[in-house]
C-alpha cells in the first residue's frame, strides 16, 4: 500500500495513541460549548461543483447553529491530507495541526488508523448516531477495516450501471450477461482506465459477481489464494476486452468522461459509484433523457464516505459538531436531493420522526435514480489488498499493451 510506504519512509514506528481529548465526546453540552468560536479546516476533495456547494451550505448552517466557522480546503487527492498529518507527526507537531477534519474512506482510513493518526473514538458518542442505520448500511466497517468510532459516516455510495435505454433497453442482470451483450454489440462498452478509482471498482465488481465464493475477499489476499480467486476475473476480461470500445486499446481516463461518451453516442453503458449521478447529469444536459440506471441481480458494491479527525486537530470539538450536523436529518435530506448532491443517506428511516421521514419521502429522486428498495443491500468492499494486486496485474496485462 502506498501510504504505508510513506510511513515506512518517514521512519515512523507505530506509537501509542497520543490522543488526549480536551472534552469527552460523550459530554455533548461540553463539546458544543467548547466548539463555539472554533475554526474547522475540513480537507475534502474539491473536484466537483455540487459537493463544494454542499460543503459551503454546511459551513453556513454550523455557523448559525453552533458558532463554528467551517473552511473547505479543496484537495485534489485525499492522500495529500494524510501525508500532511504524517509530516506533522514526524515534525513533532502533536497539537495545533493544520487539518481538523478529513473526508476519507478505504485505504487512507486504514493507514491513518493503523498509525494512530486519528482522534477518537468519537463517532458512536455523537447524538445523531442514534438514527444511523447501523444494521442496513456498512458504516461500522470501511473496506473490511473495523471503524471502531474513529470516523463518522455521512454518505452512502453504491455501484450502479448507467444505460441509454434508447440503445440498450433492458438492464443486464449479471457480469456474464454484460459480456454476452458486449460480444453481440462490440465497441459499445468501456470503463475508466485502472488505476482510476472507478475503473478498479469495475474490476472488483466483476470479480464479486463472477466468483462462486466471495468470502476470501473479506480477508487480505495471500500469495496462495490470489491466483485462484481472481482467475474468473481474468478469464472474463480476456473475452470482454476485445469487444470493448476501441477494442480495449484506449480507455476513458475518468468516470465523468464516460458520460460524454454516452452523450456522443459512442457507448451505451457506463459504471458509476453514485446512484444519483445519472439524474443530475440529465438535468445538466450531459446525458440523454433516455438514460436510466440498474444494479446487478446479485447486488453491487457499496461503501460509505466518512469524516475523520486527525489526532492533532486544533478544533476537535468543532469538528465533532460538524460531523454530528452531517448526520442530522436536515443535512442528510439535502445531500440526498439529486438537484443538490444526490448522495445516499446513512440514516435509518424507521428511527426518524414522521416529519423528518416526510422530508425524505418528498424528495424527487430524479427520473434515472433507483429507489433504496431497488438498490437493495450493498455488497461489502473487498479487503484493500485485493484492489492493489488486481490493479497492478491489470496494468501489466492491458494497461501498457500497445
Amino acid at each position: 500500500m502506498k501510504l504505508s510506504t510513506i510511513i515506512a519512509a518517514l521512519g515512523l514506528a507505530a506509537m501509542p495513541s497520543l490522543v488526549l481529548a480536551d472534552t469527552d465526546p460523550a459530554d455533548w453540552p461540553a463539546v458544543t460549548a467548547a466548539a463555539k468560536g472554533q475554526e474547522v479546516f475540513w480537507n475534502a476533495w474539491g473536484g466537483s461543483t455540487t459537493t463544494n456547494d454542499f460543503l459551503a451550505w454546511v459551513g453556513q448552517r454550523v455557523s448559525e447553529e453552533y458558532g463554528v466557522t467551517l473552511t473547505h480546503v479543496k484537495l485534489t487527492d485525499t492522500a495529500d491530507a494524510v501525508s500532511r498529518v504524517l509530516a506533522e507527526k514526524a515534525a513533532g507537531q502533536d497539537t495545533g495541526g493544520a487539518i481538523d477534519m478529513i473526508w476519507i474512506n478505504g485505504a487512507n482510513f486504514a493507514a491513518m488508523k493503523e498509525q494512530d493518526l486519528l482522534f477518537g473514538p468519537f463517532a458512536e458518542q455523537l447524538p445523531n448516531w442514534a438514527v444511523v442505520d447501523v444494521d442496513g448500511k456498512t458504516v461500522q466497517t470501511d473496506f473490511t477495516v473495523p471503524v471502531e468510532g474513529y470516523e463518522s459516516p455521512w454518505a452512502m455510495a453504491q455501484v450502479v450501471f448507467i444505460h441509454d435505454t434508447a440503445r440498450l433497453a433492458d438492464p443486464l442482470p449479471s457480469m456474464n450477461a454484460l459480456l454476452e451483450w458486449s460480444k453481440s454489440n462490440p465497441g459499445r462498452f468501456t470503463f475508466p482506465q485502472p488505476p482510476d478509482f472507478l475503473g478498479s471498482t469495475f474490476l472488483k465488481q466483476a470479480l464479486i459477481d463472477l466468483t462462486d465464493d466471495a468470502s476470501p475477499l473479506q480477508a487480505p489476499a495471500t500469495d496462495e489464494n490470489y491466483a485462484s480467486v481472481t482467475a474468473p476475473l481474468w478469464d472474463f476480461l480476456e473475452e470482454l476486452t476485445p469487444t470493448l470500445w476501441r477494442q480495449g486499446r484506449a480507455y476513458p481516463q475518468t468516470g465523468p468522461r464516460q458520460l460524454q461518451l454516452i452523450a456522443d453516442g459512442e457507448i451505451d453503458l457506463a459504471i458509476s459509484f453514485s446512484p444519483g449521478e445519472a439524474s443530475t447529469a440529465i438535468a445538466n444536459f450531459q446525458l440523454p433523457e433516455t438514460a436510466r440506471t440498474f444494479v446487478l441481480d446479485k447486488g453491487t458494491l457499496g461503501n460509505a464516505s466518512f469524516v475523520a479527525i486527525p489526532y492533532n486537530s486544533s478544533a476537535t470539538e468543532g469538528a465533532m459538531v460538524v460531523a454530528n450536523f452531517l448526520l442530522s436529518p436536515e443535512a442528510q435530506a439535502r445531500a440526498q436531493d439529486p438537484s443538490i448532491l444526490g448522495y445516499g443517506t446513512v440514516l435509518n428511516m424507521d428511527a426518524l420522526q414522521d416529519d423528518q421521514q416526510a422530508a425524505f419521502d418528498a424528495l424527487d429522486l430524479g427520473v434515472a435514480t433507483l429507489t433504496p428498495a431497488q438498490l437493495g443491500t450493498a455488497l461489502p468492499e473487498p479487503h484493500p489488498s485485493w484492489m492493489t494486486r488486481i490493479e497492478a496485474d491489470w496494468i501489466i496485462r492491458y494497461g501498457v499493451s500497445e
Binding site: T5, I6, G47, T49, P186, R249, Y251, R257, Q260
Partner: protein
C-alpha cells in the same frame, strides 16, 4: 555611447541567474533522487534502483518510443510545412493573408487548441457529424481509434497545428535578414520556378537563423504534457505524461522513479537533437547534389498547392476547434450526429463563473508578475547593452534558449523536490519564478530587435538638450517603443497563461490557474466545462494583445509620425 545614469551592468548577470538558476537547481534536484538520494522520503543511499524500477515498468520502451517518434515527426512536419508555405508564397498577397491568419493563433494556449482539435477529429466529432448520416450512413459514431491512437498521430497533428504559427513567425523574422527577395529574383531570372528557387537560394540562410527555434520545437514536442494528455495515447502514455503521474503520486518513493524517467527524457531529447544535427548534414549533402542537378522545379505547382492547403488546414483546425469549444460552452443537450446543439443555455457559464474567478485572478497575478519582472530585466539588459556596448555573443543567445530546449519535465520535478525537501512552502512566488524562466526568453526575443533598431540620434538630440541617459530612456526611448514593449508584454503574458507543468509541479497542485483547471477538466471530459475554461484561457491570452494594439493607437491618435511605427 552614453555614460552615467543608473548603474545597469549587474542586470544582465541577474537575468542570467533568473534564467539558469531554476534550470540548474532543478536539474540537480532531478539527478540526486534519480541516483537514490531523497532524504525527505528516507532515501539517502546512492544506487541505480530508480533506473531499475523505471526499466521494470512494462510500458517503458513504448512510452520512450512514442516520445521520440511523435516529437521528431511533429518537428519534421511543422518545418516542412512552414518551408513550403514560405517557398511557395512568400511575398504574395496570399502569404500576407496567411500571415495575418496564423500569427494570432500563436497566442492560443496549447491545451485549448488541443481540446478543440480533439472535438473536431473524434469519431463523434464535428467532421464526422458534418458528413453523417447523409454521406456516411452512420447514425452512431464508428468505433475508430482516432483521438489517443497508439501511434500518436492525433498528438502529432495537434502539435503541428500549434507549432506552424510559431515557426512561421520565427521564419518571417529571419527572412528579413536573409536578403530573400533579391536572391529569389536572381534565381527566378535563371529560370528556376518559385519553390525550387526559394529552397535552393533562400532556405539555407533562413534555416541557419531558425535552427534554435527548430530545436525548441523538437524539445517541446518530445516532452509536452498537456497536449499529450488530451490527444496522446494512454496504453501507455508518452514518457513525460507518465513522469508527471509519478510525480503527483502521494507515495514519495515514486519520485525517485520519476526523476530517473526525467533524466532518460533529457537524454532522449539530447539524442534526438544530435540525430537532428546529423540529419542537417545529410539533408545538406543531398540538397547540394540536388542543387547541382540544376532542375528548375517541375513539381512546383503541386508543392505550392500542398503548402497552401496545409497552412489553411492548420489554421482552420485551431479556429474551428475554438469555435466548437465556444458552442459547447452554451450547449444544451447535443447528441450525435447533430451539427449544432438541440438547445442553447447559459447554464454552463452560470455554474462555472463563480468558481472560475479565483483561478482567473491567480492566472492574472502570476502572468502580470512574471511578465513585469521579465520586462524590467529585458529592458535593463538591452539598455545596458546600449550604454556599455555589450554585444551578446552567440553563446549568450544559446543561454536564452536553454530553458526552452531543456525539457520542462527534466528540471521541474527536481525543482519541486528541492522546494519540498528545503521545506519552502509551495505557493505563488516559486511559481512566478518558474514562469519567469519561460517568459523571459520570449520577451527578450520579441523586444530585442525593435529596441536595437531604435534610431539612436533621438537619444543624441535628447542628450544635447541636457537629458541624462535615464531621462532619455524614460522620456524618449520607451515612449517611442511603447508598441513593441506592449507586444513583448502580451507575448510574455500569453506564455505565462499557457504554462501547465510549471504551475502544477512547482505550485504543488495548490496554485490553481485557468490552464491547470482546464487540463484537469479535460480528463473529466465535460465539454461544456472545458469550453468555458478553454475560452476563458484563450481570452486571457488575447486580451493583452488587443491592448497592445489599442493603447498605442489611443496614445498616438494625434501623432502622425508614430501611427505606423
Amino acid at each position: 555611447m552614453l555614460r552615467g545614469g543608473v548603474k545597469l551592468s549587474w542586470l544582465p548577470i541577474l537575468t542570467v541567474l533568473a534564467l539558469l538558476g531554476p534550470v540548474l537547481a532543478g536539474l540537480a534536484g532531478t539527478i540526486a533522487p534519480a541516483l537514490g538520494w531523497l532524504p525527505g522520503a528516507g532515501q539517502a543511499r546512492l544506487s541505480l534502483d530508480a533506473f531499475h524500477a523505471l526499466l521494470d515498468w512494462p510500458g517503458f520502451m513504448d512510452a520512450a518510443r512514442l516520445s521520440v517518434v511523435t516529437g521528431i515527426g511533429a518537428t519534421v512536419l511543422s518545418l516542412a510545412l512552414v518551408t513550403l508555405i514560405c517557398a511557395g508564397w512568400a511575398g504574395t498577397p496570399a502569404f500576407r493573408w496567411l500571415e495575418k491568419l496564423l500569427s494570432p493563433l500563436l497566442a492560443v494556449p496549447h491545451a485549448a487548441a488541443a481540446f478543440g482539435i480533439a472535438f473536431l477529429i473524434a469519431p463523434s466529432g464535428w467532421i464526422v457529424r458534418a458528413m453523417s448520416p447523409w454521406l456516411t450512413g452512420w447514425d452512431q459514431p464508428p468505433d475508430l481509434l482516432i483521438v489517443q491512437d497508439p501511434y500518436g498521430f492525433a498528438l502529432m497533428a495537434g502539435l503541428v497545428a500549434k507549432e506552424v504559427p510559431f515557426l512561421l513567425l520565427m521564419t518571417l523574422a529571419a527572412l528579413g535578414q536573409a536578403d530573400a527577395p533579391r536572391s529569389l529574383a536572381v534565381a527566378r531570372a535563371l529560370g528556376y520556378r518559385r519553390v525550387s528557387g526559394w529552397l535552393k537560394a533562400v532556405f539555407p540562410r533562413v534555416y541557419a537563423q531558425i535552427r534554435l527555434p527548430v530545436y525548441v520545437v523538437l524539445a517541446y514536442s518530445m516532452s509536452v504534457v498537456d497536449v499529450a494528455v488530451i490527444l496522446g495515447p494512454n496504453t501507455p502514455p508518452t514518457l513525460s505524461v507518465q513522469i508527471t503521474r509519478w510525480m503527483s503520486d502521494p507515495d514519495l518513493a515514486f519520485r525517485l522513479q520519476a526523476a530517473a524517467g526525467a533524466l532518460v527524457q533529457l537524454a532522449l531529447v539530447l539524442g534526438a537533437m544530435a540525430f537532428w544535427r546529423l540529419g542537417e548534414f545529410a539533408v545538406g549533402w543531398l540538397a547540394r547534389r540536388w542543387v547541382r542537378t540544376g532542375h528548375r522545379g517541375a513539381a512546383d505547382p503541386l508543392a505550392q498547392g500542398v503548402g497552401l492547403f496545409a497552412a489553411v488546414a492548420a489554421a482552420s483546425a485551431i479556429i474551428l476547434g475554438l469555435l466548437g469549444l465556444a458552442i459547447w460552452s452554451f450547449a444544451g443537450f447535443w447528441s450525435f450526429p447533430n451539427l449544432l446543439p438541440d438547445g442553447f443555455t447559459m447554464r454552463s457559464w452560470d455554474r462555472h463563473i463563480p468558481g472560475m474567478l479565483a483561478a482567473m485572478w491567480e492566472t492574472f497575478v502570476l502572468a502580470a508578475a512574471a511578465t513585469s519582472i521579465a520586462l524590467v530585466l529585458v529592458i535593463g539588459c538591452l539598455e545596458a547593452e546600449h550604454r556599455y556596448g555589450f554585444r551578446p555573443s552567440n553563446r549568450a543567445v544559446w543561454l536564452l534558449y536553454l530553458p526552452l530546449i531543456v525539457p520542462q519535465i527534466a528540471f521541474l520535478p527536481g525543482l519541486q523536490t528541492l522546494l519540498l525537501v528545503s521545506g519552502a512552502d509551495m505557493g505563488r512566488w516559486p511559481v512566478v519564478a518558474a514562469h519567469l524562466v519561460f517568459v523571459l526568453p520570449y520577451v527578450f526575443l520579441s523586444l530585442a530587435d525593435p529596441f536595437r533598431a531604435w534610431e539612436p540620434r533621438f537619444g543624441t538630440i535628447g542628450a544635447a538638450l541636457g537629458a541624462g541617459p535615464d531621462r532619455v530612456l524614460w522620456r524618449i526611448r520607451l515612449p517611442m517603443l511603447i508598441a513593441p514593449v506592449l507586444t513583448a508584454f502580451a507575448v510574455g503574458f500569453a506564455v505565462s497563461v499557457g504554462q501547465y507543468l510549471p504551475t502544477l509541479l512547482v505550485g504543488g497542485g495548490r496554485v490553481v490557474t485557468l490552464t491547470t483547471e482546464a487540463v484537469a477538466l479535460a480528463a473529466g471530459g465535460d465539454r461544456r466545462a472545458i469550453g468555458v475554461y478553454g475560452l476563458a484561457q484563450t481570452l486571457a491570452s488575447f486580451l493583452p494583445f488587443a491592448m497592445a494594439l489599442l493603447i498605442p493607437a489611443l496614445l498616438w491618435r494625434n501623432r502622425m509620425g508614430m501611427r505606423d511605427a
